[in-house]
Symmetry: C2
Subunit: 478 residues, 2 copies
């Protein structure tokens, strides 16, 4: 064992320094099993002070650090590279709910708390923490903040960023910044909080956070709506926003092909509509009104939309279990697509007003370049966020199609760029899209990011090779 | 005329380079008439390109720049210092509404648009831009963003920060960063937007922004409620939040002494309650429900609060003009206090759960140190934001009392710090509180801010002497 690892053992205890390959494997393996990184060790400190002590040790020995929460990220942001020179610093033992202040609608949590645990603790205090993602049972709140996680409730409550009031961060020099403010208004200097949020561990390590809580809605109504096309879905979004305001907490789009895939791979699910329609929208309203009031509101709205021809059919859930059944169609699309075979995924966002144009233009480009490729397009329409995935033609072997991944990515991302969108709406950059963003961001923006990286992590030890590269040219900002 | 000013004239036209003292006076004078700065000139470029050209010129000649919007700030952030070596760069000619995208609920505006003009343009597109402040007729959207303005609608819609999706910024090197994204989700790198927002022109100059729009509420109900103490107001806040959720758009507290001052100096106003009560709360609900529904909801809620003894009396507005009349009591407090004479102001925030404790503890400390001093305490209780002002004892001359300003500030700000609050909730730091924040922020936080300042403005030309000083020690972050 190296002197460095020996010092790590002295700092956090030998049990929490893993250096055998088999012990480290789950920490080194990407969520989608695409890559396995290499590391000197996996370190699991117990608290912020131990995190800081380890960072100081790493700084002294110039060892790079890959911070890791639940390791559920999709862009290779939380596993080390192949050099084998870095350590993985797992935050999973920082699991305390430090404080719940129901009267202030805030909760102070440590980075390693699972998102589901955070949701449950809020519920226990008769409050809602609205962040909700597919991986909520295994992702951590620290990882959610480091990647500015999104999910299904962004439309009403915002991303992880908007749900956070304060942070505790261990800097690249191993100092603890106590920015755990629980204030709705605080204009006393630069917004360090939002700089660390979404920086994917490249500027410092989030060890705790003050998050916002909300009253638990008293009613929740879910409906599935059939439509002729994406334009109709946009018209419906506008109508529902106008008439329900902040009660609209979910507006999810998926195509008929998505629904077909779900039925094919989950044959036990009942058919919802007697015949198929080109597009579907899942609407969720929730509010402090009674269940009856909210339901009547949605019924009236959708009845008028049916009458005007804006929508083709509708089913409104009569119970919580029916609502869950409707959500299941939306939630199972990813699994159904995985069972269908490998495919090429894109996590993009577009101004809502441009979405129909974008889908139609990009579908055409792809169908021209790859005849009979199958579009699996679904997502959070209310946020302009689409999972715009491409499956191979039915007759083609997936591995052959995947050889064209770079070309498919280029067609989609170029089209996103032309439509003023983002090539990573909610998953981040990690190592996966680090080169890709160089194609779409201005050199100035990259230089501004590099200047900040150098200012806060001068020795480039914090999650190196993620988000942004080191500045090569010697030109300074002036 | 100096060669530098001659070049400025060539760049933006001689009409837009003011260098005579009398022409410059309004640009050099602080909003509260406390200070008049000195400048080489006031420059008024027409567009972002001219701003960038002027910044490059300033960088070449090492001339400091004080960016200015409506010059309505309260912390000496938008006027130059006494050196006379800097220029004021007024953004007021950048007045275009570049784009309204109603389907995306966004609007792209230039920095010099007045807030009231932005509100009106949104209204014209059947949308709401909810930022609302006392100075909305003269402050600019660029200034609102540079200072992360707050106001009365933060409870529901957030600060200027939360209402912005993208920025265009001229950097300290005179380059134009196009970050005008109109996306709800975009995780492609460091959050430069939020770094520039609230940095008070010390990191770059905001020249345009994409701001969020909302559906216009269909109903609006305002009520004035009398209560026994601040604790009861907090109980009421909790009750109303639980039952009305996102419909609660205003929750303003003021004491009986505030109301007395308003009646004293605006004698034409009618009495609202037949007798006086210790505290008052103004509640505003607005939502997409009908006026009748929202009114009934508030009536029922307040009837039960009356019955349980939580509140002492209540008046609900029957019309828009009655609602405006109720708001007037809240809005006139500042003017009434000004007519009463000079006083010592504090713009603070405290976790909502701590507000009653804070007010009681701090009142006692002040009354002990300054017997018979008069507390003028009012503010946005829902955000934990108080304007905690202190008027001299009735018999004392204001100027004598103001000699004790530093001591009063120290008592209040120390107490704010003990209660985990902020000494500048919505007005910012400027030159006024630059020394004050050094007492309450950790040295680490100050060093992080300085590192960012040096990274983005290495020659310290952007609004020098505001927010943060130059780093004196040579210790680096590692």
């Amino acid at each position: 064992m190296s002197p460095f690892l020996h010092l790590c053992q002295q700092t956090i205890g030998a049990n929490y320094v893993l250096s055998e390959q088999d012990e480290m494997l789950t920490y080194l393996t990407d969520q989608r099993q695409r890559e396995v990184g290499k590391a000197l060790a996996v370190l699991s400190p117990a608290n912020s002070e131990e995190v800081a002590a380890l960072v100081r040790l790493c700084a002294e020995h110039q060892i790079a650090i890959v911070p890791q929460g639940g390791n559920t990220g999709l862009v290779l942001g939380s596993i080390p590279d192949q050099s084998g020179n870095s350590i993985v610093l797992s935050l999973k033992r920082l699991k305390r709910i430090r404080k719940i202040d129901a009267a202030n609608n805030t909760m102070t949590v440590e980075a390693g708390c699972l998102l589901a645990e955070v949701q449950a603790a809020a519920q226990g205090a008769d409050r809602l923490y609205p962040l909700s993602l597919a991986s909520e049972g295994s992702c951590t709140i620290g990882g959610n903040l480091a990647t500015n996680a999104g999910g299904t409730a962004v439309l009403r409550y915002g991303n992880a960023r908007e749900l956070c009031l304060g942070l505790e961060v261990v800097t690249a020099a191993g100092e603890i910044w106590d920015g755990l403010r629980a204030l709705r208004k605080d204009n006393t200097g630069y917004d360090l909080r939002d700089l660390f949020i979404g920086s994917e561990g490249t500027l410092g390590i989030i060890t705790a956070a003050v998050i916002k809580l909300f009253p638990i809605p008293k009613s929740e109504v879910t409906a599935l709506i059939a439509l002729a096309d994406v334009n109709a879905a946009l018209g419906l979004l506008s109508l529902v926003q106008e008439h329900t305001g902040a009660s609209l907490t979910g507006f999810e789009l998926f195509s008929d092909f998505c629904l077909q895939l779900v039925h094919k791979h989950f044959a036990e699910l009942p058919k919802i509509f007697s015949r198929s329609h080109p597009q579907y929208v899942l609407i969720e309203l929730s509010s402090s009104e009674t269940q009856e009031h909210t339901r009547t509101q949605l019924e009236n709205l959708l009845a008028s939309a049916l009458q005007s021809g804006l929508i083709l059919d509708v089913v409104i859930a009569n119970s919580l279990s029916q609502a869950a059944a409707i959500w299941k169609f939306r939630e199972l699309i990813s699994s159904a697509q995985a069972r269908e075979g490998k495919n090429i995924k894109h996590d993009i966002s577009i101004p809502v007003s441009q979405i129909a144009t974008f889908i139609s233009a990009t579908d055409t480009l792809l169908q021209t370049a790859f005849p009979a490729c199958r579009m699996v397009c679904f997502g959070h329409l209310g946020d302009g966020n689409l999972h715009y995935n491409v499956s191979p033609p039915a007759h083609q072997h997936a591995n052959d199609f995947l050889l064209a991944q770079a070309q498919v990515n280029r067609i989609v991302h170029d089209s996103v760029h032309r439509h003023h969108g983002s090539i990573s709406a909610e998953h981040g950059i990690g190592a996966l899209k680090k080169e890709e963003i160089l194609l779409y961001k201005s050199p100035l923006e990259i230089r501004l990011m590099q200047a900040i990286k150098e200012a806060l992590d001068p020795h480039q030890l914090m999650n190196p090779g993620k988000v942004i590269g080191v500045r090569h040219e010697t030109t300074s900002l002036d």
